[in-house]
């Protein structure tokens, strides 16, 4: 865990601020910059973001807590998001989820002991043509079957 934002991250946040007529518009992007560097939005990290953008800490905390993609404790190196919305449900996402939990030996929301993967469900990821699908980090994968999961997971170290 790192308790301070690097100068490079602060510069990036200021660059985002300069793009908008009002500086608070940079907040969502700034929180990702901070999260990517620190691993999670720890209270001291949130305070730093608030200071750079010149916003109340309470406001930054409030915004961060609203959105699904911010985290307040660390996760694995690769986030697995398995879509469980209707089209994926119809295409058998339950079997995929069961198989993933078994392969990784973790529960939903859990992280593997080696810190490699965190497993979560997600709402529709707008790739229903490949249902059932998931994202691993920034990559989409689908259509999934329990048999092709090992090959996909092996690509992520």
């Amino acid at each position: 865990m790192k308790a301070a934002l690097s100068e490079a991250s602060k510069v990036e946040i200021r660059r985002l601020m300069a793009q908008f007529p009002q500086r608070q518009s940079a907040l969502l992007g700034a929180l990702f910059v901070a999260q990517d560097e620190a691993g999670a939005l720890y209270p001291e990290i949130i305070a730093e973001v608030a200071e750079v953008i010149d916003l109340p800490v309470s406001e930054v905390t409030s915004v961060a807590s609203f959105y699904h993609l911010y985290r307040f404790s660390p996760e694995g190196r690769h986030l697995i998001q398995v879509c469980t919305n209707i089209s994926c449900l119809l295409s058998g996402c339950d079997r995929v989820l069961r198989a993933l939990k078994q392969r990784l030996d973790i529960e939903m929301g859990g992280t593997t002991p080696d810190g490699r993967f965190t497993l979560k469900t997600a709402e529709c990821l707008a790739a229903c043509e490949t249902a059932p699908m998931m994202m691993v980090g920034p990559d989409r994968h689908g259509p999934l079957a329990p048999e092709n999961l090992d090959e996909i997971l092996a690509r992520y170290g």
Binding site: A26, V63, L69, S87, L90, C124, A126, C128, A131
Partner: protein, 422 residues
């Protein structure tokens, strides 16, 4: 049927490259628009008959006319690229496959309403789309399709891309503006905050969907008459129990049956059971609606909540347990409710609890009336369309598939196959 054009270049290996795009006549629509008065551009779009493809189906030209023309007032154009309506994936397809078309549409729309700055609010999960758009935007600046004095016209436009952070509600237009201003994505009260009058930073703002702006680029390039001759094409996202799920460009008003045929039909040996004709916010329709056209007038059907919405056709065959599907749909809205208004925040939780006990064999027959009652309590009472999206699936399944609920409650189990035979 006219030749498809919206998807024509999606599969090209050079899709993101500006030179290839220009070589195929790209940015001709922008050139033509810049030679016209802004009001003429709006007229051209209005005459084309284009209606917004985000879900509401409001006339695009009419929407732009609501934006005040006073040159002293700062105006913005904002692109809603926060695609997340379950079953919808057409905007992502366009962003990844034809990014310059979107940029061209943005420049045309911004010019039409007199905006000097435009914003794309892109769904955060669209990592690939973001990389493609970033590159395309940089190319468009370099070639003078964005930035200062575009193509020597004297018109300046700055385009900024922002992302969400995971919130379905941010797709609602006023919630999107809140999010773009760096706040929690909670909807604003309408009126007074109609975006065209008081939008981003309380300035007049045109908010348009990705597909809508791609249509605009084609309309300006080829003219409204050509566009009308194409038969009002629309992108349908077709998914679920079909052999070839995907995005299909079909004439507006294609029937549900033809939509399923376009996606290569059902899997062999299966029969049609039901579908969402317009994403999970629409009613669930059974087989006797197969010849219903998927059009904006779907609402005229005698089924509450029937709508074209984002044109997401989700097909369900006879292996589907509709109680499970509706339960999952409600769970989605419960998860994504912003919590601002009581009917949505409490109603989605309460309905979910009822479905939970039905699905776990602890349902009671009076739960059927209870579901209907809670849905009624949410109808017309929610602050924004998110909560209002819950009742249609409940009303329609209680009307068309009530035996399925009763079977679950009476036997404590699901036997879709037995029901299909009955």
């Amino acid at each position: 049927m006219a030749e498809s054009f919206l998807l024509k270049y999606i599969q090209e290996p050079d899709h993101g490259e500006v030179d290839a795009y220009v070589g195929r006549g790209g940015y001709e629509g922008l050139r033509r628009a810049l030679g016209m008065a802004p009001a003429q551009v709006i007229e051209e779009v209005e005459t084309s008959g284009l209606r917004g493809r985000g879900g509401a189906g409001f006339g695009t030209g009419r929407k732009w006319k609501f934006v005040p023309t006073d040159p002293a007032v700062t105006k913005y154009l904002v692109v809603n690229a926060d695609e997340g309506e379950p079953g919808t994936f057409k905007d992502r397809t366009l962003i990844e496959g034809d990014p310059h078309r979107l940029i061209e549409g943005i420049a045309i729309g911004s010019y039409a309403i007199g905006a000097r700055q435009a914003f794309i609010y892109l769904r955060r999960e669209f990592h690939q789309g973001r990389a493609i758009l970033e590159r395309a935007i940089a190319q468009a600046y370099a070639k003078g399709y964005l930035g200062r004095n575009i193509q020597g016209s004297g018109y300046d436009l700055d385009l900024v891309m922002a992302t969400g952070a995971g919130a379905y509600i941010a797709g609602e237009e006023t919630a999107l503006l809140e999010s773009l201003e760096g706040r929690r994505a909670m909807p604003r009260l309408k009126p007074p905050f109609y975006p065209a009058v008081k939008g981003l930073y309380m300035q007049p703002t045109a908010l348009n969907n990705v597909e809508t702006l791609c249509h605009v680029a084609w309309i300006l390039a080829k003219g409204h008459q050509w566009y009308r001759d194409q038969g009002s094409p629309i992108l349908y996202s077709i998914s679920g129990h079909v052999r070839r799920p995907g995005v299909y460009e079909l004439p507006l008003g294609t029937t549900i049956r033809k939509g399923i045929e376009a996606a290569d039909g059902l899997h062999s040996g299966r029969t049609f059971k039901a579908c969402f004709p317009g994403g999970s916010s629409s009613a669930i329709l059974p087989a006797n609606f197969l010849d219903t056209p998927m059009d904006y007038d779907l609402a005229k059907l005698d089924v509450y909540g029937s709508m074209l919405g984002s044109a997401a056709l989700i097909v369900m065959d006879d292996t589907t347990c509709l109680v499970e599907v509706v339960a999952r749909t409600v769970e989605f809205y419960r998860e994504e409710s912003c919590g601002k208004c009581t009917p949505c925040r409490e109603g989605t939780v309460w309905i979910s609890q009822v479905f939970d006990r039905i699905l776990h064999g602890a349902g009671r027959l009076e739960d059927i009336e209870l579901l209907d009652g809670i849905a009624r309590g949410m109808t017309g009472t929610c602050f924004c369309p998110l909560g209002e999206s819950v009742p249609p699936a409940i009303y329609s399944t209680l009307r068309f598939f009530r035996p399925e609920y009763e079977h679950h409650i009476k036997t404590g189990s699901c036997d879709v196959k037995a029901l299909a035979r009955a």
